[in-house]
């Protein structure tokens, strides 16, 4: 893999880059079973997590990943910083770069912010989710999880269900899965699956068509109420129309399909309670694999903050 400073979108990577990061993630996951769950790959390097949006799993996943690579991790808390006084992103980054950070992991509600930061500083910038644009580390952990389950991504069929319009996960995960030879389809309420999203992807409007397509993986997206000011659909209809109900779960079980979800789950909306304990649910695998995937991403990026000796 050629030296790369930033990870902003999956589209920036070659297929070879994608496979290299996935292969290394396998090696990283082996570390988890050792008595000492740590390697010195990033010893002496400084990692900053800069999250302008709330996050539990992504932030802690990156922090655990950085710790397991022996990096020093600093957490920037937006709500208690000068950001609330109106400081621009550029000025915040200038301040933080004065502290000689090597890696900046950023999440922001505005699409494109990580790219702005990446252009502005020498640290390696990892996009941990920007608006509805991209979430490349989620894409890696999803691909890794499917590869781990089935031995390959190529040829698998994955239907992504829910709010495609606002979902950075849908954009990034569908890109990486298609890159690796999987087939991807979408299903969701009309206003949340815009025509431009499925120019080269099948789109379904009901579960019968989904089952008929014979998917391997049912990938549920979270209904992102925080991004919806005016309702796109009658909220109470969602579970019956697009969620995994008890009845659909039985059918999913009969067909031996896997269920994935990027979390956090809205119980009773995307998934019924029973689906959380379903034998082929890969949701906890996704969380565990997120650490391995993020370790691999950190390992393969090259900051320009110093001579890389």
């Amino acid at each position: 893999m050629k030296p790369r400073k930033d990870l902003l979108t999956i589209g920036d990577l070659s297929t070879e880059d994608v496979n290299t990061i996935l292969d290394s993630a396998t090696a990283m996951k082996d570390i988890f079973t050792k008595s000492v769950k740590k390697v010195p790959a990033l010893k002496g390097k400084s990692v900053l997590t800069l999250f302008y949006e709330p996050s539990t799993r992504t932030r802690s996943s990156f922090e655990v990943a950085a710790h397991r690579l022996s990096a020093d991790v600093t957490t920037f808390t937006v709500s208690t910083s000068s950001v609330v006084k109106g400081e621009s992103v550029h000025d915040t980054i200038d301040t933080l770069m004065s502290m000689k950070m090597d890696y900046i992991i950023v999440r922001h509600k505005n699409s494109g912010i990580p790219a702005v930061i990446a252009r502005h500083c020498k640290a390696a910038v990892i996009n941990a989710g920007d608006g509805a644009h991209a979430h490349p580390s989620q894409a890696f952990l999803d691909a890794f999880t499917i590869r781990e389950k089935y031995g390959t991504v190529a040829g698998k069929r994955v239907v992504i269900i829910g709010d495609i319009l606002h979902s950075r996960v849908a954009r990034s995960t569908s890109t990486i899965l298609k890159r690796l030879g999987a087939e991807v389809a979408y299903m969701g309420p009309g206003p949340l699956v815009p025509p431009q999203a499925y120019t080269d992807i099948p789109r379904f409007t009901n579960w019968d068509d989904v089952f008929e397509w014979k998917p391997d993986v049912i990938y549920l997206l979270r209904v992102q109420n925080e991004r919806i000011d005016t309702p796109f659909f009658p909220a109470k209809d969602y579970h019956q129309a697009f969620g995994v109900t008890d009845e659909r779960l039985r059918r999913i079980d009969d067909l031996n399909l896997s269920i994935m979800h990027p979390g956090p789950v809205n119980r009773g909306v995307e998934l019924c309670d029973a689906a959380m304990d379903y034998r082929n649910s890969l949701i906890c695998n996704q969380v565990e694999n997120g650490i391995a995937a993020r370790m691999s991403i950190l390992y393969h990026l090259t900051p320009q903050t110093q001579n890389n000796d």
């Binding site: 505005n110 699409s111 494109g112 608006g131 815009p194």
Partner: protein
């Protein structure tokens, strides 16, 4: 003082070569092809004008085009962080660089033309600092808040004949309807952009593949079309004249075309960038291409160009909007809308529309010289007579690379930065 002579210049409207003698009296004027040429004392076919031996000021204009300077119906001149006087001065220089002798300055928060004092101090600044004429559009509502009508009689007494609330036309339709009924009786024209704020809040790009891939919220074209239709229906009912600002969609052009066919008093403008670029130019979040309204599709560009050619659209405007480099360095959602257009106005029109044969010189003279002056009706307030467009010489053979050195407006938010444009301009002629 001695006369200035111009030899072998090509008159823009008939393509023939003439010799011209510029008079020393500002009220001198000649007529050519039915067009008044202010400042010209004599005209003769090329080689036939008697030029005194040893005349000190003789321009050989072989290969150059003589034409009226342009009038821009839509310029915002405020630059964040700069003094108002500097904004005026820089916009004036930018206009002359782009072949523009006069412009209609659209209200912005820093130039809120809703009262006499603001207008008076602005006119003082223009008199002292500006190389170009600057008319002002008065505000429709006080403070451009869309709540109460501005002082229209006061504005009219200071030469205002066009009203606009800038980028945010009033959403209170009752207030607007009453304003139209009142102000139309004192000869005001309402310059309005089509918009429905409830449909376009928090949006910044044409919806489509680009917006989806970039994860940006799309500005549905129907918001503009509903806005235009609403403005025209209100104006028809109130008996007011409307000037539709920066129409950007094909269906918007159709609405205006139908209104004109029905005899309504409506004029319309298109921004140059909406004729030249689409949302695909945004590429990977290039904020230079963030405009208001957003850049649309190729089919819209084609419909707008057709509207210019068939007279549905009366004016091509710069929609000049200077933004500081820092402002445009921000992310696409946060960065301000707009690009500068004055500095390179005629050169860009020539390079991208005339040279490739998309528009004729006649189209450009009609939409950038004659129609804007007829709509804005610039008046010399001291003399109380109509101001006349001066002439300029345009050399289509010369070219230059656009850079900070030739952008006197002082900001760099132009898509032409680093590109080659054709044409050099001599304005004023001396």
């Amino acid at each position: 003082m001695t006369n200035t002579y111009i030899r072998n210049a090509t008159w823009v409207l008939d393509g023939k070569q003439y010799d011209f003698c510029l008079g020393q009296d500002s009220e001198t004027a000649c007529e050519l092809n039915g067009f008044q040429l202010p400042g010209i004392e004599r005209i003769a076919p090329a080689g036939e004008l008697e030029i005194p031996a040893g005349a000190p000021r003789v321009h050989d204009a072989t290969g150059k085009i003589l034409m009226p300077a342009l009038f821009d119906m839509h310029a915002s001149i405020e630059i964040e962080g700069r003094s108002k006087r500097e904004c005026v001065s820089r916009a004036g220089q930018a206009a002359i660089a782009g072949g523009v002798w006069g412009m209609l300055v659209i209200p912005t928060p820093g130039f809120c033309f809703d009262n006499a004092a603001t207008l008076d101090s602005f006119h003082d600044a223009v008199t002292q600092r500006s190389a170009a004429e600057m008319l002002t559009a008065g505000c429709i509502s006080q403070g451009m808040k869309g709540e109460q009508q501005a002082l229209y009689n006061t504005l009219a007494a200071r030469g205002v004949s066009i009203l606009s609330d800038g980028a945010n036309p009033p959403s209170n339709l009752l207030m607007l309807h009453r304003a139209m009924k009142y102000a139309s009786e004192i000869g005001m024209t309402f310059a309005l952009r089509g918009d429905v704020p409830a449909l376009t809040a928090n949006t910044c790009i044409q919806p489509g593949v680009t917006s989806y891939n970039l994860g940006l919220h799309g500005t549905v074209p129907c918001a503009e079309e509903i806005g235009i239709d609403t403005a025209l229906r209100l104006a028809a009912d109130a008996g007011a004249k409307v000037h539709v600002q920066t129409v950007s969609t094909a269906k918007g052009v159709d609405i205006i075309r139908r209104a004109k066919a029905a005899g309504q008093q409506v004029t319309a403008e298109v921004a140059l960038h909406h004729l030249l670029f689409t949302h695909e130019n945004i590429g990977d979040y290039d904020t230079t291409y963030k405009t208001l309204p957003p850049l649309r599709d190729t089919t819209d560009c084609e419909a707008l160009l057709a509207g210019v050619k068939d007279g549905t659209i009366d004016c091509i405007v710069s929609d000049h909007t200077p933004c500081t480099p820092f402002a445009k360095k921000q992310d696409f959602t946060t960065a301000p809308q707009g690009m500068i257009g004055l500095d390179t106005f005629l050169q860009a029109i020539y390079t991208y529309l005339i040279k490739p044969g998309k528009l004729s010189w006649e189209d450009v003279v009609r939409t950038c010289c004659i129609n804007p002056v007829n709509i804005a009706n610039p008046i010399d307030l001291e003399e109380d007579v109509p101001s006349a467009a001066p002439l300029l010489l345009f050399d289509p053979e010369s070219s230059f690379e656009v850079g900070a050195d030739n952008l006197p407006c002082g900001t760099l938010n132009t898509p032409f930065l680093g590109t080659t444009l054709y044409g050099s301009i001599t304005l004023p002629l001396q």
